[in-house]
């Protein structure tokens, strides 16, 4: 896997208010296809709005709030961007 090159984290690990850039989508074609349409494509910036460590995660991507189940957030590998 190319995961080691950059310091990649899963989206489910990110605390609220952190920004990150999508790098890799894991999972089947159906899942990656649905996510890509919503704007989870490599390079796009996501901001975590809510993450309580359990239950779903709420993020913003392309100016839209998207809720992801914890399992789904685990499949999105991101590169954390510095805080503004």
């Amino acid at each position: 896997m190319a995961d080691q090159n950059k310091c990649l984290q899963t989206l489910s690990d990110l605390a609220a208010k952190r920004r990150a850039s999508v790098q890799v989508l894991r999972g089947g074609k159906d899942f990656t296809g649905r996510m890509a349409v919503l704007g989870f494509v490599p390079g796009s910036v996501v901001t975590v709005i809510q993450n309580y460590g359990r239950g779903p995660v709420l993020v913003t991507v392309k100016d839209v709030r998207i809720a992801l189940g914890r399992g789904e957030a685990l499949k999105v590998l991101v590169e954390v961007l510095p805080e503004e």
């Binding site: 890509a36 494509v41 100016d63 839209v64 709030r65 998207i66 809720a67 789904e72």
Partner: protein, 670 residues
Amino acid sequence: MINQPRLVEGRRFVSMALAGQPNVGKSTVFNMLTGLSQHVGNWPGKTVERKTGQYTHAGQTIHLVDLPGTYSLTDNSEEERIARDFILRERPDVVIVIVNAAALERNLYLVAELLVLPVRIVVGLNMMDVAKQQGVEVEPHVLEAALRVPVVPLVATHNQGLYELMHAALHLAENGVNFAPNRPEIRPSHRAVLGDIRSLIAGKTPFPYPEDWAASKLLEGDVELTEAIRRSAPGQWERIHILLRQHEDASLDVAGGRYEWIERMVRAAILEPKAGVITLTDRLDRIALHPLLGIAVLIGIFGLVFWLTYTVALPIVDWLDAVVIFWLAESARGVLATGPAWLISLVVDGLIGGAGMVLVLLPVLGIFFAILGLLEDVGYLARSAYVMDRFMHWMGLHGRSFLPFFIGLGCNVPAVMGARVVGERRARLLTILLIPLVPCTARMAVIAFLAPAFFGERAALVTWGLVTINIVALALTGIVINRTVFKGEHVAFIMEMPLYHLPNARTIGLFVWNNTWSFVKKAGTLILLVSALVWALAYFPSGHIHTSLLARMGRWLEPLGQPMGLADWRMMVALLSSFIAKENTIAVLGILYGTESQLGLTTQVARALSTSSALAFLVIQMTFIPCVATVAAIKQETGWRWTGFSVGFLLILSLCFGILTYQVACLAGL
């Protein structure tokens, strides 16, 4: 590409389709344009709602079809297949795409997909006011110049820009020969393989798919298209298949390419980049989506639904029952005074006593749909799915399954159909199997009618207890079926949380009207027939109910009723008739216990049963097999095997619950 004018009854009309992603105010636009001229049905052979309507602009009649809200035109869901098939097969003169100006990039994804289809497009740039509030300034004419497609700014909720939108659409329909939009292209890295596939499928693409489009959909891994091409081009299939295998990463690349193109399109059109403002939605979500507060809000909303039902709807129900139905029965008696006795009995006891009882339930249904429509319109409904996601996982489901459960509180039939929002087959199946345990308004109305009669001041407590039994039964059934039959398969929860906004009276009004009207149509046909049938069974052969066919059937079932404390055959018949429609229980009790007595139905029924029997009756009523319309919907969605399982399971469950309740209540000395 110019279409011939279409003629209906000698008059020319223009056909247009309304497309858009979810949560862009598309239904508001449709409702504003068509109002009460709209017709709600289903897409042929599908369970997805199909809305059509008419709009007249400058003397020109426009037929408008509201396409299902879709994020893209890739084969991810039934809605997406319907939308693209309609555009490709029916070739509407113009497709109006509604986009949300506050989330332009994501919304233009659908536009990017539509632009490569052989159809003329007008973009309605909606929610300009919301965008402004968020600090986003969009320049419609700049976007128009970039896309080379008419772009009309809208605030649909205030009816701003709709005239201009339709003007632009009509102009394009009539003079659109030179329609040449800017079309997105695939990234250079996949241009060669796209060309190869394009030449392999040349002349072998089945109707109605354009070849360029089919080639790019193959690269995206579109299941329906892949299957179609495999069948239509068997000779080339092996080579196509190898190419696709070598470029399995292409689907992300195609989507990424579209987003890059969109970025170029909007770069000049968006004047002010978004400042980091904390919006109203952010503030409200801190409460509504909080793991604890969010649940409290949801419980509060359920409390409000029940409270409104009891304080607003039930007095209207009582009034309709005591005044209107009584007056109808008396007038009918007067008009038919000289007619034969059986006719008077049929009309007064059968039809008015039966169907009339159903119609008085309309206030309950109306209030529920008004609240549901309001919650959907302000954007709360998606939040309820979010806060319930954690709990739904216990049953192997996710937050989306909560929405059909919510709808099921109103009526189980749309809930079963609404289970389609749950993408995965197993999760959808489980959701459908559990829906009958959600007490619908008809069931609740029966309880609301009988509980006060049986339990007086403790009625509210009993009602809460009954609802709790249903929720616990639903959760336990879900957990058990998930662990045993479905072996805990994982399902994906991906859901957009729309912005909160002020409710639109017209949208909610039409929602209530469409849903309540479909109930009236059902009551007007099926339930009327059943009322007449039950009346006939109760009237013949002797003209007296205690020696009727119905009494014989009921007495035959009495041994079954014994362990549940339901030795009165009339209660067994009332229970059985609830299979036709839940509210029939009251209607049938009305017929069986007569309407002429001054005592009133509830008092008479209460006198016939002991407290433990009454409790058992209500518990069975709440968990009994669903009504025939729900069973039909389950059959349509899942097939006979699962329908049989569902009915059999609920029958056993409710009878066991009934026996258990009666025996425990008797032991407790009730």
